[in-house]
Symmetry: C2
Subunit: 315 residues, 2 copies
């Protein structure tokens, strides 16, 4: 089946024409023009679709459908995108109709974090797993729950907010208004705010000088790189981050009987110190029945996960 | 549809013949004989079924099926009960076959906490709700997740362990080996261990003397009763318990986009102080999208929930 998958990000649109679940036949990318109006962004979507169809030398009728990952809430019954926070001029946009009217094919919308999970399910680390949670560690901590091979949406499609599992009722304030959310430790800005004093206090750290003089420019990838070179403070920061993630992972595993966690996003590339921290903490904390079978897998698709998951919405 | 529902508890078996989802036609109860062998308990199950069929003046062929709630894990594909902790002589018991061979009707098995949730779904506080989590506050904190009107089982049928959501990574040790599990605050023994010093330190508490002289005999129901009479310390204990439950409820609501929580078991009868504590804490902590719609409902079925849920497994 030939489908198109589109991932609408805050700054760029990524799109691919795929043999669904098998291979990418063509791909493209354009700016989202988020600062413009709805028509500007929808125009970019049309342009991407047109380009992909032309690249494959296909007719629109060859396309079984278009899947779109959107950065916000969706009214699935009506195919409407609802007030996506990163597309400020969008209110209630009937995106499914806008695309299907133009291209004459079925269009399905899905939240972008769910698309990323579905991408890993069909093309990535979740290929052989029916039940898992995919986590994306970035500015926030995104999550998508796959169960029985399908997206778990919850009552209104908002499921998967793993970042707002609290691991300490009296922990640091989170932007959401709660305390101790795992995002309030692992989200990039929170992580750096806590890490900087550690780096400044350790004259042996490779990041010591930058933490003192150029803190704004540092991000978790720098910590991951320094850790890979053996920087003890950076290793400790990543390990601590992993241990905290492990607490939330254990809570989710216990609640959902889901034992596989696919972890991607910026600092997931740090590898061992982060994953060792997660494993040690989560294995000690999950119920006995999960202890042997808990698995922590690196995400495989990077930034392509959302686009590929969108392409597989038709499956 | 006429079905039989059976709830196998550690001390007693409860069973009912029902017009499924509508009414109880006959009911009975017998000791589980857990200290005996598998045959003893299965004999009690047969006796319950025989009695219910006789009471209704029915033939086995009138029965569409038998649902059984069991206190432990189940191999659903094979209809086998696996090492239930409260039935020490049970190893792997092919209970579905044992009952269907004798009675000639389909038999379905389900975990007892899931049955309780399903009971509330069809007969109780969840009648008009497709998505909710049912919590039972007792020695442990049991949970059953209903989504799209059905039980959410997870990868192997162990989903719903709400009691082992941690609300403080460094909190009190839980029997499961983790720390800060909500069960380690709200489970009866944990709750009383923390409450007793409060009661002993408050000479005005109605439970002061008993806490000093007869602590063993006190349980959370006494605290609920004293709170109902205006005992300030008991009200504070229940409120604190509610506030902690609210932290775990917010985490689960955020992760699953489930906004309805049906709360039963011993201390749920305390009403206002507990529910006010939950509401205040959970409403402040859930993501904004859930703040208005979060609902905390008292369970309606008490000890009948498991039996009625079992009766509705055939639906």
């Amino acid at each position: 089946m030939i489908t198109i998958g589109i991932d609408i990000g805050g700054s760029s649109i990524k799109a691919a024409l795929t043999e669904t679940g098998t291979s990418i036949l063509a791909r493209t990318q354009r700016p989202t023009l988020a600062e413009g109006g709805v028509d500007d962004t929808v125009g970019q979507l049309h342009a991407c679709i047109e380009e992909l169809i032309a690249a494959h030398d296909a007719a629109p009728a060859d396309i079984a459908g278009i899947g779109v990952g959107v950065p916000g809430a969706i009214d699935h019954d009506r195919g409407i995108v609802l007030y996506p926070p990163n597309l400020p001029s969008w209110k209630e946009v009937p995106l499914a109709a806008l695309l299907s009217d133009r291209w004459g094919v079925p269009v399905l919308l899905e939240n972008d974090a769910n698309c990323a999970a579905l991408g890993e399910r069909h093309y990535g680390a979740g290929r052989s797993h029916e039940h898992f949670i995919a986590l994306t560690l970035g500015t926030g901590v995104g999550g998508g729950i796959i169960t029985g091979g399908r997206i778990f949406r919850g009552a209104r499609g908002f499921a998967g907010e793993f970042g707002h599992i609290s691991i300490d009722a009296d922990g640091p304030a989170c932007n959401c208004g709660s305390h101790g959310c795992i995002e309030a430790y692992v989200g990039i800005h929170y992580l750096m705010r806590e890490a900087l004093p550690d780096l400044r206090n350790d004259p042996d750290s490779l990041l010591h000088t930058r933490a003192l003089n150029d803190a704004e420019a540092l991000d978790p990838k720098d910590i991951a790189e320094a850790a890979a070179k053996g920087d003890a403070t950076c290793i400790a920061i990543l390990r601590r981050t992993g241990e905290r993630l492990g607490v939330a992972i254990a809570s989710a595993a216990n609640l959902l009987d889901i034992e596989i966690f696919i972890i991607g996003g910026g600092i997931a590339g740090a590898g061992a110190p982060l994953f060792d921290g997660i494993a040690e903490s989560a294995r000690h904390r999950v119920l006995k029945v999960h202890r042997e079978s808990l698995a922590l897998l690196p995400a495989e698709l990077g930034n392509d996960a959302g686009m590929l998951g969108a392409a597989s919405l038709m499956l």
